[in-house]
Assembly symmetry: C2
Homo-oligomer: 285 residues x 2
């Protein structure tokens, strides 16, 4: 990544693949930061990390229709390409892969990638279409950009593990790296969807992170029992006005359900709706 | 491809990817011929075509468990690696990709690629698991070998179209080329499964191709109507002792059902069992 370069914008896959092949032939490592645009400080931190980890940085911007359900916010999802490109130019990003819908889903398109394992439960219970859409589009982004490293925010922790599983299973030579969640000063995880929150909802939203911290502290202390700690977090969130989808303790590597909380790395994950906005968060235990 | 080279055998994906990257950096085009081994003259013709079309030739040998149903012949499928390697060395093949099961399906493996469109009906009616297994393993072979061209026999015509669709949909930069079916002098399409036929079945087997030729001639002549021509072919096969799975006329590019046989390229496809052996064949109309 170079200072103050104007990034090359690739709308087509072949051009992006050619760019990547040129870098590879020159012995340069590239890093991809996949995004749906509407870039916030969380994304920009991923880009900075990418630039420290590789010689060339590609940011993809694609609002992927197949990971939204018909009832979800595909049409309303924020699109701010000009502002996004300005932010990326200021960071010296080398290339932006911003394909058209027709390039990603050409006429007669008929292929989808389905991941089991880490995709089971949690987000899939609320959004059964979601990880199929994500795994398919991310595979195509990996094939198009052919990066050595791809950086995903840990805010979407289950997505990170699903993408890592997919990449390993298909033999894609990409190192899928998780980046710690970037938070506002009050603890709220940065997310493009935070823009949907009313001022009042915004003031309540940090309690999602607070509830997870309290539950993690209780689990670490070994009391109360795990189910009681999770139930207490749910109760906190109910009381604050959230509609809780889940608060769950899982194995941090596989997302398998945990029978013995003393065994293996643990991750505490939650999803809850505040008004019409669905927030997710997770922390290590 | 070079004369009488002893091919490098790659058991692992990373080594194969490295080999392919070295060729690419040197400006050499590579062609892949995917096989399940037990190589016959049909395969060797694909290899010769590959060597004419590219600078380097890779043959993959992998008996893929996920495209066999539990009731099918995975355990009994012929495995003759030493003989296969000798044949490939004689043809000057550059590399053989013969991965282990553990390399292709590592612990925790959880990903599958599902293709709709050309995978609908025909083979899928008899073998619902089949194209999911094929699309997934071929995607992984493409990602592992990173060829410029991949050559598939037209004997498995539906498979050819499913693989071409999958490659295009995922943006894999591989030109998927179909090669005309290689036949014995009596018309029987070469297939590793022909080895299962008894001498008596072997003498009857060419009638599959003959029935397709008769039906194609009738359809080209415009009489009888298409359904009658297909029914006559089924009757011929029944009389010869086949149990027919299908005899079908489809669009040659999409495998969509055909309402007007005067429109577009046509393909006539059939599958039928002779004793315990299932044979397939197809011809242009």
């Amino acid at each position: 990544m170079r200072d103050e370069t104007i990034p090359t914008i690739h709308r087509g896959i072949a051009g992006m693949q050619h760019q990547s092949a040129v870098w590879r032939a020159a012995g340069l490592k590239s890093a991809l930061v996949p995004t749906m645009g509407a870039l916030h400080e969380g994304h920009l931190d991923l880009v900075r990390t990418a630039s420290a980890a590789a010689d060339r940085v590609v940011v993809s911007i694609f609002v992927n229709p197949t990971q939204f359900a018909p009832t979800e916010d595909f049409a309303a999802y924020p699109r701010e390409e000009a502002a996004d490109l300005a932010k990326l130019a200021a960071l010296g990003v080398d290339a932006v892969f911003a394909p058209t819908i027709a390039e990603m889903y050409p006429d007669g398109y008929a292929t989808r990638i389905v991941v089991d394992g880490p995709a089971r439960g949690l987000e899939s219970d609320s959004r059964p279409h979601f990880f199929g859409g994500v795994a398919t589009v991310v595979a195509k982004l990996f094939i198009s950009c052919a990066p050595d490293i791809a950086i995903f925010g840990e805010k979407d922790y289950q997505q990170l593990l699903v993408v890592r599983r997919m990449g390993a299973d298909l033999g894609l030579p990409v190192d899928v790296v998780g980046f710690p969640t970037v938070r506002a000063a009050d603890g709220l995880a940065l997310s493009s969807r935070n823009a949907y929150l009313s001022p009042e909802e915004r003031s309540v939203a940090p309690r999602l992170h607070a509830a997870l911290q309290a539950a993690a502290a209780a689990i670490r202390a070994g009391k109360p029992p795990v189910p009681d700690a999770l139930a207490a977090a749910e109760r906190d969130l109910d009381d604050a006005g959230f509609a809780v989808d889940y608060v769950a303790l899982r194995n941090a590597d596989t997302l398998a359900e945990v029978s013995d909380p003393r065994a293996g790395p643990l991750r505490l994950l939650a999803a809850a709706r505040l008004g019409r906005t669905r927030l997710i968060d997770n922390i290590a235990v």
